[in-house]
């Protein structure tokens, strides 16, 4: 058969067959019967070129190339179409219920006390406070005497102390750390002292162990104005912009003047609500100007230096901030409780 005839036949064969395949794999097999480099019918025709008279060869070569190009593009087009249909089918088959649960590692969380402490530490370390952690077991001297609370001072009755022996006790206040710091560091001093403290008290708002955060600044010319300025900054950072502080007279043996510090109620903006018991204010911490006797007990010249100290209950802040209603929850590690606190 003449090459031209063979080519026409191939063309007809392709034209009639190309549309009859439903998978690209079958189409590929069909394609191979024409375009395979060795066995393909078009390649076979190429091999027949040697029998073509020399003068006809360019013309024949041209039509062979034409049919090859035509076949290639015809098959490519058909394949593209089939492939697209195949992908569409695959997509349809693989469609999922996107509302099914995610697969992931469940992340845990930190204790609410730690969350509050971290927040406080961040606020105060930005103001230049170092963090000091004292021991939980303290001597009578550091917990009381050096803090201007000598033996049998009535102020000792303010706190029910757990005693361990004649001279040692579970610290009732992180203020004990003040003395250790001031004995070992000369002004300027800015420390923040978080830690567990202990008092013999046990009800819905009191736990025999709780955490305190104590702050101490000792430098030249420190005043009540500086104390309030710092507490204003702290309050608005931890409770929200616009929260104000109010100082009112109180008493602690190691500060004078001593104050209780209230913050304007962040739930009602000071109008009076359940949280602030209608007063518009919430008591959050105690503070004052460091008593000269305390400075002198630590070998700091009280005529040259002055300072302020403040102390707050971490759980109290956590309970206010997160709305926790029973302090016991904090020490039970109930999964349902723990899950609610994410960093």
């Amino acid at each position: 058969m003449a090459i031209q005839d063979q080519i026409r036949e191939i063309r007809e064969e392709i034209e009639s067959g190309i549309g009859s395949y439903s998978t690209s794999k079958e189409l590929y097999e069909f394609r191979k019967t024409f375009l395979d480099n060795k066995e393909g019918k078009i390649s076979q025709i190429m091999k027949g070129m040697k029998d073509v008279p020399k003068e006809d060869r360019p013309a024949v070569g041209k039509i062979i190339n034409e049919i090859k190009e035509w076949a290639t593009s015809a098959f490519d087009a058909a394949d593209k179409k089939l492939h697209a249909a195949e992908l569409a089918a695959k997509n349809a088959a693989e469609a999922i219920d996107v509302t099914m649960p995610a697969v992931r590692e469940t992340v845990g969380g930190l204790h609410p006390d730690t969350l509050v402490c971290n927040e406080l530490i961040e606020i105060f370390s930005g103001m230049g406070f170092e963090i000091y952690e004292g021991s939980e077991i303290e001597s009578d001297y550091y917990n009381f005497t050096a803090l201007n609370t000598p033996a049998d001072h009535p102020a000792r009755d303010m706190q029910d102390t757990f005693y361990l022996s004649e001279g040692f006790l579970l610290r009732t206040q992180t203020s004990a750390g003040q003395i250790h710091v001031m004995e070992n560091k000369k002004p300027p001093i800015k420390i923040l002292s978080p830690g567990k403290v202990f008092r013999s008290d046990d009800d819905a708002t009191h736990s025999p162990m709780f955490s305190q955060m104590e702050g101490l600044v000792v430098d030249k010319g420190i005043s009540v104005c500086d104390l309030q300025g710092m507490l204003d900054t702290f309050s608005s950072r931890i409770f929200g912009e616009g929260v104000k502080t109010r100082l009112r007279p109180s008493y602690f043996p190691f500060t004078e003047p001593s104050v209780e510090v209230d913050v304007s109620c962040f739930a009602c903006g000071g109008k009076g609500c359940k949280l602030c018991k209608g007063t518009g204010w919430i008591e959050v911490l105690g503070a004052g100007i460091v008593n000269h006797r305390v400075l002198e007990n630590c070998g700091i010249d009280s005529t040259e230096y002055s300072g302020f100290a403040f102390g707050m209950g971490v759980e109290r802040i956590a309970m206010l901030k997160y709305g926790i209603n029973n302090i016991k929850n904090l020490f039970e590690s109930d999964v349902r409780f723990a899950k609610q606190f994410k960093d």
Binding site: F124, E130, Q228, P257, R293
Partner: protein, 805 residues
Amino acid sequence: MLAPLSWLREYVDIDVPAKELERLLFSVGFEVEELNEIGKDISGVVVGEVLTCELIPDTHIHTCTVDCGEKGTFQICCGADNVAVGGRYPVALVGATVYATAKDHVTIEGVMTIKKGKLRGVDSEGMLCSGVEIGVSEDMYPGAGYNGLLVLPADAPLGADVKPILGLDDYIFDIAITANRPDCQSIIGIAREVAAVLGKEFKMPALDYTENGADLDFNVTVEAPDLCPRYIAHYVSDVEIGQSPAWMRRRLALVGVSSISNMVDITNYVLKEFGQPMHAFDMADLENSEIIVRRATQGEKITTLDEKEFELNPANLVICDGHRPVALAGIMGGLNSEIKDTTKAVMFEAAKFARDNVRRTSRALGQSSDSSSRFEKGLDEYTTQLGMKRALHLVCELGCGKVSKLHIERSSGNSTEATPLTVSIAKMEEILGISVPENEIICTLTALNFEPEINGDELSVMVPPYRDDIDNNVQDIAEEVIRSYGYEHIVPSFLRTAKVTCGGLNQAQKDELKLKRALAAQGYYESMFYSFFSPRDLDMLKYPEDAPERNAIRIMNPISEDLSLMRTTLAPSMVNAAVRNLRRGNTAGRFFEIARKFIPKSLPLTDYPEEHMMLSVGVFGDGETFFTAKGAIETVADTFNLKFTYERGEKPFLHPGMTANVLLGDTVVGYLGRLSYEVCEELAIEKPVFVGELDYELLSKHFDSAIRFTPISKFASETRDLALVCSEEITCGALEEAIASSCKYITSVTLFDVYRGAQIGEGKKSMAFKLVFSPDDHEFTGEEIDGYVKRILKKLQHTMGVELR
């Protein structure tokens, strides 16, 4: 501290409502914990006169016509036996609120609102009231204690509210007094502050008396002046014991003191009014005409007024007559010399006893009283003198005895006068940070009785003798000034004069936080448990009697036995948490705690114990295995670039086959295991619980948080999976180690499967590892890796008898 408004009004002209006074006291540092209106439950009760009164046949009930003035005339039924025509009684009109009483007519059961009603078929428009029904006791109003109608004065205006007549319009302030102000543990102390805050004059109660009693030869010796710096005795003769007047009984009742007799009431009255504890001895019982204040002898006994006997020692101070103790100084009088109905003469005592000694004796004997608690708070000797004068005045006022000239006062010489103090105004303002106007300083301190004078920068004051809290320092004066001037004048500033300091966490604190976050990322929640636990916790975990964990520091005064030992291990708290969660239906959880254990150097403590940081982990519930729990331990290693190894371990509370010691190098740094079946059965839990502890303190010395970069290879790593058959004794760890050390290009060996079965053979297992080979200077070819694998296998076969599966 209870202070009735009516009593305060005796000494200060209070012209503001009770609520406003509460606010003012709060602003100067006296928080009113409770403001109680005495008659708050009573309303709509007026004076009424019974016009007619007829008994309903066969009952004890009368039908009365009651005239209530402009309120009207009402028919009211009444069952009281003392109802009579012409009598004036409290009438609760329809709509009034009064106390409902039980059948005994005495026990209050609540508040009720009066409605129109019928008694035995007769209409009744209101109720005639007894004292109990309107909250008035005999001490508050004479006659109110009668179990029948309260009889009002014949001149009580008809229709008028009974509350002012009966003193039910009064308020009681319950005030929190800070420990530095013992002088305010008295009515006059509060009255002084009220006067200052209102800018009014304080009127001192009358202190005068006439000495017209019989004289007496008597002596007082204070043998222990350190414990009794001042002792005042004054003799009163011609005593007539009887009832105190109504005003005194009422005031005592308002502050919770029952009236006993005039002499005893006077001592209690002075205690409440001046804060000075007083005692009255029956002269007839004082032997040898003397009082000796001395330390008790060893084994000496006294029976106090409440009939309790105490055995004393020289740490206790006693008041003795010529022969025996007659009072436990500052705490309670002796039964042997108490005031009786027959008492004809008394010796009054007003003294100051040392605060700490009263406190110690009271604690040691377990005996306390209003008097001892008052001494413990601290008392000044000026008030001791005033107290005696006031008592003697009251004797005269009540006419219950004749005050003698016999006054004996023993003192160790402490001043009872105001003391001068001069401070620098500049220094005071430096503390406050604001400038206080001179006139405000003068005004404030004058109101507080400090008699201030300003001379340039010098502020001179006279410290009142009752202000023992003033410590001769400018800070005290600054506090007094700002307290009254008001903290609202403070202008917040931000450390105007302070030096800049460098703050922040130190490395150890950062490391701790880093670890907490790493564990949280692994699904662990941070726990915080009490630093103390129960001896039973150690029993629960089957620690033997001689275990070091039993050597715990004991709290001398624990809340309960369950909270009595300082923790020597964190494991029990974690186990308890797991058990608590499971019992509450929480089926799974992962927790960790970083806290201290307490290791005593000696017991009882004579030195600081070691506070040793530990990390505990607890994992429980379905799906958790030893290896998921091991993830927590490996997280620690991973966070700080540590390499832990594991070996089979042992703990009395852990599964013997599922317990590991954790080692860092050759040192055991912790353990991990499954809670044993025995313990689980005892705790009635079925789900698996894994618990472990790491010595955080020790590990922290090896923490390496530094980040050091190693250049990454530009050649791709190749992996090979090898299933190796070996005998059961060979551990994964040993094989891993052998593989890793057998070829320098191996950068990771990870077990991914273990298989046991017939094809492998008895006593053998197949472990499949994924090996990663990382080239250093050229791309690996397949042949090269095959060569390494061949060499590794040869070595393993030779050293451990391991075959390729």
